[in-house]
Symmetry: C2
Subunit: 334 residues, 2 copies
């Protein structure tokens, strides 16, 4: 009863958008070893006849955030948020004017801040990140993101994401992957923008977090962020949280610093095809150039291991034709 010719026509019409979409993945990547490695890997694991075929449910891809999906200079953006929060909250804390490390933030005194070291930084984090409900914190992050601008580019922070990495995320999801963030940043902080900016829903965002406490007052439940750290999602903390929260081993992992080394090792140690990638910040002109000697996003041991193991090192200068979504797409390099 079915007219075969017209049925084929219909099916062709329906299928066409998919073919168009698949025509050129990763348009902001130059033709080079990194793009080639990503596309070949994806084709291997998604081709049903391939020896390396991986069921969609097992196509787990994990990404660090700072320095891998968005910039992290001149300081981690979440740290800049914490400083701005101290300034915003200062009127309610007159004692901060004479109290380090808060005084240093209010006076914009980089030297005193540096002298406060990690201990000082933790106090700033606690004051801005703990002792409030998860909903209040989300609302604070939203308010900040909507008006804060990056100190050197003047861009909203959520526009300082890497266009080539957004394309990797899209490409992987089109090919049946589930994409996750696994980052040292605060889970609640990243969830505020991850869905809109990266297409990654809250339940696929893993980060550092505080012990939370359920409270029930007058029939109204809230969840308090206490000042006790529950998990530091950096270094070995990354494979630990991947195993605890995802419960499957990723087949693709992307990072940019020594804090991602263990996540890449854990990914590499599984059987079958794998892709381990490192974004290498080499582009002082369009972004920043730093690696072994940087305090932020130091890439040293992981770079050595990547070279030894043949992981994919993405030289930002040569492999990316543009950095941020707002840039016009550059002409392809030869």
């Amino acid at each position: 009863m079915i007219n075969t010719t017209s049925t084929k026509a219909l099916l062709f019409t329906l299928a066409l958008p998919l073919f168009v979409q698949a025509a050129e993945p990763l348009p902001s990547w130059n033709e080079g070893p990194a793009k080639k490695a990503i596309i070949e890997f994806v084709q291997t694991v998604t081709t049903p006849d391939s020896k390396g075929f991986v069921q969609p449910a097992e196509r787990i891809a994990v990404f660090d955030n700072d320095g891998t999906l968005w910039s992290e200079q001149p300081g981690y953006f979440e740290e800049l948020f914490a400083f701005d929060e101290i300034r915003r909250m200062a009127p309610q804390h007159p004692e901060w004017k004479d109290q380090q490390p808060f005084k240093a933030v209010l006076d914009n005194d980089h030297k005193a801040l540096a002298e406060g070291g990690m201990e000082g930084l933790m106090k700033i984090f606690m004051a801005s990140h703990a002792g409030l409900t998860t909903e209040e914190f989300r609302s604070n992050v939203q308010a900040w993101l909507s008006k804060a601008r990056h100190p050197t580019t003047g861009k909203p922070y959520t526009e300082m994401v890497y266009q080539p990495m957004l394309e990797v995320l899209d490409y992987l999801r089109e090919q049946g992957f589930k994409t996750w963030i696994v980052s040292g940043g605060d889970t609640g902080f990243m969830r505020v923008f991850a869905e809109e900016v990266y297409g990654i829903p809250p339940e696929q965002v893993i980060g550092s977090n505080f012990v939370s406490r359920y409270q029930y007052n007058d029939g109204k439940p809230t969840i308090l962020r206490t000042d006790k750290i529950a998990h530091n999602d950096d270094g070995p903390g990354k494979p630990e949280s991947i195993d605890s929260i995802i419960g499957r081993r990723p087949i693709l992992a992307f990072g940019n610093s020594d804090g991602d080394q263990q996540m890449l090792q854990w990914t590499a140690a599984g059987s079958g095809p794998r892709l381990m990638g490192l974004v290498h910040h080499t582009d002082a002109k369009r972004e920043w150039a730093y690696d072994r000697d940087s305090k932020i996003g130091r890439l040293d041991k992981a770079l050595d291991e990547a070279k030894q193991q043949g992981w994919t090192i993405v030289d930002m200068t040569s492999q990316w034709s543009r950095i941020y979504p707002s840039e016009a797409s550059a002409a392809k390099q030869p």
Copy 2:
């Protein structure tokens, strides 16, 4: 160019299985208030014109496991696993013959075991659940599930799941929900069977867990389950883990005991349509009957709150036409 009649015929053919599927959801539920509440809720949140429409991404449904998705008598099945593990490991631990609480397990001495209380039980849990890698633990659980049989029914434990709840899980997923387990049980334990038995993938299983530790020896990374408890996913621990791991508030939650009360409160306190359900174990003939005075799965405070708040109480005897998948479907009750 397209023959309209034949196209309609094609589309009708393609669409038919969906209509058939949707014709009668929840076949093992009797026509009654519980089935009615579930179907009306799902229709409300999935009907685009409805005032209560909820976007698919926000259709989060959470389920307790023990007593909600599978039976929990005469003891939590994971506890029975722990006892069997002690017996299996005893040859490597000759000292256990004279050491409580292990001696009680080996002698099948219920009185001594009861005397050991929670402290004794924790020692048994630690010996069977900690100090091994996550992969070793998974393999132990797999081996146990494949051969262990329930002491009174003689069934494999994975066949003591509730057919009506499997149908709820399927129905919700067909309607665009993401289904999660949020349970006091060990996350790694439940993940071994949750995907095959419930259709719930590892990354949607939340439970109690131990602090884990990444280890790297001779190029081989492993993740050790230490004997330090990271999270007790019971009572207030449930909304805490929902917020921390899912990062969205559920619109549907199902439990069966006081340990689920806070999860149901947290779900109820969101805006828009909600469904809070409690499986009430009233069927001594087909399953077990217990509530306010039970040591296992005590349902007391949550039952009071459910009655006050109008939550859906599922009276197992009258609402379920069959309990386990292996039973023939019973004739509908009038």
